[in-house]
């Protein structure tokens, strides 16, 4: 197993991966996405809600990398770079907004802002 990992580190893509192995990774990715979604829907703390969106990004990234490995194609990994970029930008904006909201109401409760209509 250790030798396998070293070979992996040296080459772009070694042997092709089976469809069943792909399905394992996609199952983990789907469940991670579901956990993030549940957290986003149920938690009422604004910061934890945004943390759960990051969890969903993470699940999407895992699915992309698994498909990249399955198709022996690097575009999936390239796309994860852009997912990381967007996640960083989103974190910066969202956290600035959260700090602003917190300074106004002294609370992180999402239910405090139910009257905000746009």
């Amino acid at each position: 197993m250790g030798a396998d990992l070293i070979v992996l580190a040296q080459q772009g893509f070694p042997t092709p991966m089976g469809g069943a192995t792909l399905a394992h990774y996609l199952l983990v990715s789907a469940i991670m996405f579901a956990i993030g979604l549940i957290g986003f829907l149920t938690r009422r703390n604004l910061i934890v809600m945004f943390l759960c969106t990051e969890l969903m990004f993470q699940a999407g990234g895992l699915a992309l990398i698994a498909f990249s490995r399955f198709h022996l194609e690097h575009s999936g990994q390239t796309f994860v770079i852009f997912v990381l970029t967007v996640a960083a930008a989103e974190a910066a904006m969202a956290l600035a907004l959260v700090v602003l909201l917190f300074r106004k109401r002294e609370s992180l409760d999402a239910d405090e802002w139910t009257e905000m209509k746009g």
């Binding site: 772009g12 469809g19 792909l22 394992h24 956990i35 990234g61 990994q77 970029t85 700090v99 409760d109």
Partner: protein, 315 residues
């Protein structure tokens, strides 16, 4: 039956996972998180074992099970932990487990970029904001948990909706992924070397197979590199000759990824740069704005102040 798992078994396993998640979500009085976690892990274990039994020849590495269990367990704690700081720290654990999965999928560059960017930068920003946006415990209020952190909103509906989504996704996916053909199955991983003649030259030089004056030969503007036969034509003062590649000459993950990024998606890099710039500007503008505290919040602060004064006076 070429399905990876029987659909009924899959749905039952997912229902068990959903039940566990629903039980584990924080509630006002009791939150049996350990029971919920065990239920969810049991459901996931049933699905994984059944999948493994169905396709014994194409099992993932044993590390896959370790990393995915750690990652999903930590993700569950992110969602259920009543203290946001702990949620953030468990999220770092999820990221590290995902990095393990990325390594198993031979995406080494992304694994390390994930640790640096996510665990190193984004999560630290989150931790800073959690520290900033938490009221310091005063004398009258001992450090307690907030009601909005300890009570989940609509746990049952959220779990049912999310697990229905997973059931649809995985049901479709497992019905089809056995028939899915890999796109680049016949292409050698080193085919990229055709476009990287200087890389081949450097590799041959490092192995001591050619001297400094020799170059990869070109014919009709194309480098004379035979990827299948693992050899290249080099030209120098002594004429042309074929040189076999050394054992370790191949395209590495970082090279292939960089080539793909700059060759196939140059416009996206510009757009990503613009997005980051706009986010930075937006964050600066937003955080510099003066905020008027709401009347209600002001009154609440004043009340707290009065109460603490009163408590001091009484004591």
């Amino acid at each position: 039956m070429d399905q990876i798992i029987h659909p009924i078994a899959l749905y039952l396993g997912l229902a068990l996972v959903g039940l566990g998640l629903c039980v584990a979500l924080p509630r006002a009085r009791v939150s049996p998180q350990i029971i919920g976690g065990i239920l969810a892990a049991a459901g996931l274990g049933v699905v994984l074992v059944l999948m493994g039994l169905k396709s014994k020849d194409a099992l993932p590495s044993p590390y896959f099970y370790v990393f995915s269990l750690v990652g999903l367990g930590a993700a569950l704690r992110v969602v259920t932990h009543p203290r946001p700081v702990y949620s953030a720290i468990y999220f770092i654990l999820t990221i590290l487990a995902s990095c393990g999965l990325y390594l198993l999928l031979s995406a080494e560059f992304m694994a390390f970029a994930l640790v640096i960017v996510y665990a190193g930068a984004i999560l630290i920003t989150y931790l800073f904001v959690i520290m900033l946006a938490t009221q310091a415990p005063t004398e009258d209020r001992t450090e307690g948990l907030k009601a909005y952190d300890t009570a989940a909103r609509e746990p049952l509906a959220a779990t049912v909706a999310s697990m229905a989504l997973v059931a649809v996704l995985t049901g479709m996916l497992f019905a089809g992924s056995a028939k899915l053909e890999p796109r680049n199955a016949g292409v050698s991983a080193d085919a990229l070397l055709l476009q990287l003649p200087r890389r081949v030259e450097d590799g041959l030089k490092d192995a001591g197979l050619i001297d400094r004056k020799e170059r990869v030969a070109y014919a009709d503007g194309k480098p004379q590199i035979d990827v299948e036969g693992r050899r290249a034509m080099v030209t120098g003062p002594d004429g042309e000759r074929w040189v076999g590649f050394p054992e370790n000459l191949g395209v590495q993950n970082v090279e292939a990824l960089g080539f793909n990024l700059l060759n196939a998606h140059p416009g996206s890099i510009e757009i990503a740069g613009v997005i980051l710039l706009m986010a930075m500007l937006g964050a600066v503008v937003l955080s510099r704005r003066q905020v008027e505290i709401d009347e209600e919040a002001k009154a609440r602060q004043a009340r707290h102040l009065m109460e603490s004064r009163g408590a001091e006076g009484g004591a």
